[in-house]
Symmetry: D2
Subunit: 147 residues, 4 copies
């Protein structure tokens, strides 16, 4: 295999080792559909148990999906990265039955700190549902599950 293919394969195996422990993503049917260094795309199908008091998808689940994409992107480098803080802006409502896709992209890394931007979209009509920014820190001395 080429060097690039080796790297891609290592990143996938790390992500899958993390996914094997990730009860939240498993139980909600959140799937890692693509992953690369500092980048991840996850998807989730919304169901009726995810609706809020106004009948639209609960902001907590929109955040959770974005946060999960952030976690997979931030943990592609090897050492364990955990979320320190995050912020979400809710731009459009999502509805029961919607397929949502969250794409997380590394914006910057400085020392132990990383910043990741995540956009949550409804691919059906390509509209943006939410924008998220997460701030991660590496736990020094803690290698990742597959690191």
């Amino acid at each position: 295999m080429s060097h690039d293919a080796d790297t891609a394969s290592l990143i996938w195996s790390r992500a899958m080792a993390l996914y094997a422990e990730d009860r939240t993503c498993q139980s909600l049917g959140i799937v890692v559909s693509d992953i690369a260094s500092g980048w991840a795309r996850l998807q989730m199908r919304v169901d009726e148990t995810m609706l809020n008091m106004h009948g639209t998808v609960h902001g907590g689940y929109l955040f959770l999906l974005a946060d999960a994409a952030f976690a997979y992107a931030a943990n592609t480098h090897g050492p364990v990265a955990v979320a320190q803080s995050a912020q979400a802006v809710f731009l459009r409502p999502a509805l029961s039955g919607d397929l949502l896709v969250a794409e997380a992209e590394e914006r910057t890394r400085v020392g132990l700190n990383g910043i990741y931007d995540v956009t949550v979209r409804r691919p059906e009509d390509e509209t943006v549902v939410a924008e998220f920014r997460g701030h991660s820190v590496l736990l020094p001395g803690k290698p990742g599950a597959a690191g």
Copy 2:
């Protein structure tokens, strides 16, 4: 009944009408344990399906609980309030089996905008797990479920 008792009763009936529609809180066992004007306390028992890739409670669920408390507090005034943005800082890990309590308090309201601060605590040892701030907007012309 006194005027205060009337108001308390109205706030409770509004909250319960919203809760009746709130599939997220119902399905996760999130309970509104106390509510007053601009203020709400909710609780959730963490289970194993809420764990992340590191074996602690997923930040998405910590956010969701805080966001739910924010929504109930912001909707105590009558008109429909929706979350526009929110930010969370994760301070300590929570574990499977933990009971978590989120207390939301109105910080300020200006025109259609409101800001609510939510602290997520583990009452067993009174430690703070997360701090959350939410920014709501009222939807003009939309009375709340029980408004």
Copy 3:
């Protein structure tokens, strides 16, 4: 002197030692009007050089005043605390000539992390101009200027 008076005096002397180095506050006429453990009140008189393209006070100066109050509150404990991140919501415009007061209050401290909430008010009519939340970290091993 009583113990409380000793502590108050120590906090004031620390703050003044920091102020002596603080070229920003000095040059903008920002004054520390009151200070206590984890808490500070600062004030600034807005002038015409602080207006933005719309003729109201630049959000940057509203943030700066809040950030300064946050810094003094976070540095009342002795060790050097620095801002890691902060967020501001702009609720009402301020105008040239306004006196603005920023009150910073410690919300929580966990390990090296602290969260401080700052409200910027116009005392003349007691309206809230901006709400700010700052996240600080202590630099271990670095005693404060007067620590």
Copy 4:
């Protein structure tokens, strides 16, 4: 002139009309070095009056520079856009004498809402000093200075 050159020229003339009112940028020597639709680059030379209690550039000035870049980018479309909220992460200290460059880029626009990401860099060594995200709203019915 080509259509593109017309648009570029219109965007520049709008920005300069706004700059003519912008006492903050003028008085701090902040310059708009480049601008395009939804995008702006501004620069500022740090001087000693911008230092904080720790002898590094005050976070308030880093925020202000980013906020200014955000404002110019958000006002390239014609209608008046104002900042509703913003968040900054401080990644590295900047020092007196540093030239700082802030690049603002539109991330998304939905209805009256816009989200802009700003990176503050020190071009001398290409390091990132701060990351900023601003949330703007259009004021309906208010044409921009040159709109």
